[in-house]
């Protein structure tokens, strides 16, 4: 771990990532044994951009979000890794030499992580205002776990104002004024009246809007959206997603957008990370992921979804089998027993690590293991498309290459355990 941090320090570039997750490993202890929920996850988010994290159930995408917030369940252990977050300082003089905080090292109940949660990182969930017992006051929730959201017995305004007062130390009337403005901003009709309504009086979409308002109240630099539209209808989903996009620009927020819906990812994200069984199997820019996917899992996933306008009667191609039980993760590449391009004797033995396949696309697949150059030449078409972009963000690539090789160095040992 110390090695990692020394490697990353020389990386003084204008586009220092806002959040960098390196080789994150999280395990859950349950009676049946240990589940490796995250098994070496690395990615970065640049300020003001959206990273889409996509995966099926059990892929660990929500665990990743909760690990960043340090809101993991009691039986979860962070085994190793770093979560470096560049905390913008309130004091502009300090901003320049502010080092990134390593969230892993913080006390999960301590003051520091709470100020991060309440101030710099906000989170919105799938089921707005339904997951909590209404026994505690909204304030308790903000302090304890950030599940601010959900007191069914308090009006929207009361909860929102509390959040504002908590983070900005304002008077009641001032907080209310800001709350109304925020509600108005997120598109709640007649905000001045709606502020006094209770959560159950709002529709699902409106509740999610209120949640976004609560998230905005602390002016975060990172918004983690964990399946924010999964429970909503399509028309509402599209409203909420365009709201998230708008406020992202307005507030210059980075967004970690977690979903299982490839369509949503295509519309909201600039960068995409594909997860499978606790690992990131492919990362890249959204265009590359959708037009030139490298990992067989990503390819199969894209082939298997019904799309509007697709010729009817065509059979959908499928991925054989199902996501394995977390207790019986296959040896070698976790995808090998479902993979159409499985290489016997190789894929079922060796754990692939995330490697650059093109200049700004990484895949964890042994098809690309032999040599980076060979792989690049075999996808010349993609190369022409990606090289131009790689020049633009070359510095970012060099940074991620460092962490990528770090991951590859540490993983083979782990696989023999």
């Amino acid at each position: 771990m110390t090695q990692t941090s020394t490697l990353s320090t020389p990386q003084v570039t204008p586009s220092q990532p806002l959040l960098e997750v390196r080789d994150l490993k999280v395990q859950f202890d349950v009676q049946r044994g240990t589940v490796r929920a995250l098994d070496g996850v690395s990615f970065q988010i640049q300020p003001g951009t959206t990273l889409g994290l996509i995966g099926e159930s059990g892929s660990g995408k929500s665990v990743t979000a909760r690990a960043i917030m340090r809101l993991l369940a009691k039986n979860a252990r962070i085994v190793s890794g770093d979560i470096l977050f560049k905390q913008p300082s309130q004091d502009p003089n300090q901003a320049t030499n502010q080092d990134a905080v390593n969230i892993i090292k913080l006390d999960p109940n301590g003051k520091h992580i709470r100020t991060l949660r309440g101030g710099n990182i906000a989170m919105i969930f799938q089921e707005p205002m339904s997951s909590l017992t209404p026994v505690y006051s909204a304030g308790v929730h903000i302090n304890e776990s950030l599940q601010i959201h959900t007191n069914a017995k308090r009006t929207v305004g009361a909860q929102l104002e509390w959040a504002i007062k908590h983070t900005q130390k304002l008077s009641n009337s001032e907080a209310r004024r800001i709350a109304i403005n925020l509600l108005d901003r997120v598109g709640i009709p007649r905000a001045a009246q709606s502020i006094d309504s209770y959560p159950h009086q709002l529709s699902g979409g409106q509740r999610q809007r209120v949640m976004i308002a609560v998230a905005l109240s602390c002016n975060p630099s990172l918004l983690i959206a964990d399946e924010p539209t999964t429970a909503l209808d399509v028309t509402t989903q599209s409203q909420i997603n365009s709201l998230i996009k708008d406020i992202q620009q307005e507030y210059n927020m980075a967004v970690l957008y977690i979903t299982h819906d490839l369509g949503v990812i295509a519309e909201v994200a600039q960068d995409v990370a594909v997860m499978y069984l606790g690992r990131i199997v492919e990362t890249g820019q959204v265009d590359d992921i959708f037009y030139a996917p490298k990992h067989p899992y990503t390819q199969a996933l894209l082939e298997s979804i019904p799309r509007l306008g697709k010729v009817r009667g065509e059979r959908l191609s499928t991925i054989k089998g199902m996501v394995p039980d977390p207790f019986s993760v296959p040896s070698g590449c976790p995808f090998h027993d479902r993979c159409p391009q499985m290489m016997p004797g190789l894929c079922d033995v060796t754990v692939p690590s995330l490697k650059h396949v093109t200049a700004n696309q990484q895949a964890a697949c042994l098809l690309y293991e032999d040599s980076d150059d060979v792989t690049l030449s075999s996808h010349q078409v993609d190369m022409t498309h990606t090289t131009s972009e790689s020049q633009l963000s070359g510095s970012q690539v060099s940074g991620s290459q460092v962490s990528g090789s770090q991951v590859s160095g540490s993983q083979p040992d782990e696989s023999h355990v």
Binding site: V234, A292, P296, P306, S378
Partner: protein, 358 residues
Amino acid sequence: MTVATAQDNSSKTLLEVRGLKKYFPIKKGLLRRTAGYVKAVDDVSFSIRQGETLGLVGESGCGKTTTSRTAIGLYPATGGQVLFHSAEHGDLVDLAALSRKQLKPVRREISMVFQDPINALNPRMSVGDIIREPLKVHGLDQGSTTDAEIEVLLEAVGLRAEHIDRYPHEFSGGQRQRIGIARALALNPSLVLLDEPVSALDVSIQAQTLNLLLDLQTSRGLTYLFVAHDLSVVEYISDRVAVMYVGRLVELAKVDDLFNTPKHPYTEALLSAVPRPDPRNPARKIELQGQVADPANPPSGCHFHSRCPYARDVCKQDKPELREVKPEHFVACHFAEELELLGVSSPASAKPSLPTSS
């Protein structure tokens, strides 16, 4: 209400719904007096032909689930007719007029697959008992021969014969859905109501399940009523599609017509909202104002007028009837002929073409 009698001479109508109504009373006060009605299904008519798949789409609360369940006689209808071509009765029967007892033989011909694979299977029953249950109810359980039939059925839905003794908790979501499909097929029905059968499944499992449903339809000559909110899934599986909004059908057409040349503004908005897994060709979003109307207190005239970008005065007063504007294309909009609406017809070349992997 002359809507949608089968015109295709090759296939006959299996189920015809005429002016179906399902109102739920709103009880108020100490004496539980009826203060009003939620018109969950308000004068809906459609028909399903033998061997086809009719997709029924709409947002939550639009009444699609109630419509489908009333249409198969599971909920008693408040009004209207449900004419089902029953092989058992050898004739057309009106499901809405039969008593529960009279309905029982017809139940063998219509079955259901549910959304939630966890809730749809009794966790305390083995897979064999779950699939045997419908046979038992109809007195068709013959012990070990039935066991053998169940094993064949399990293999037909892509499970293994030895799964017969297992319990639901031992299966993944996709497999549980297959068990549910096997149960639905046990009585060899002619009509299957598929109520959001893939929306609780993982992306990679959805495709397997959809393919299975299509295969079974072909091999067993099944007719599907497919209820879903996911338009891409509905487009994939349906022959014809009906769109519902607040208890009424707004559009009913062949799948290509509906998706390529929608005639109702709501359909257009719905189609535009579907997220497309294609970052280079994002849909031109039509963002609707407000939210889905409350079925207990719907707007006057056309239910959609308050959110419709094309609404005019007449829409506030007159309820548009579902009428045939093109052959087999029914729309409930006053201006169906005038409006130039956008479908999803994206040129084939624009679709992401995946590299054939090396």
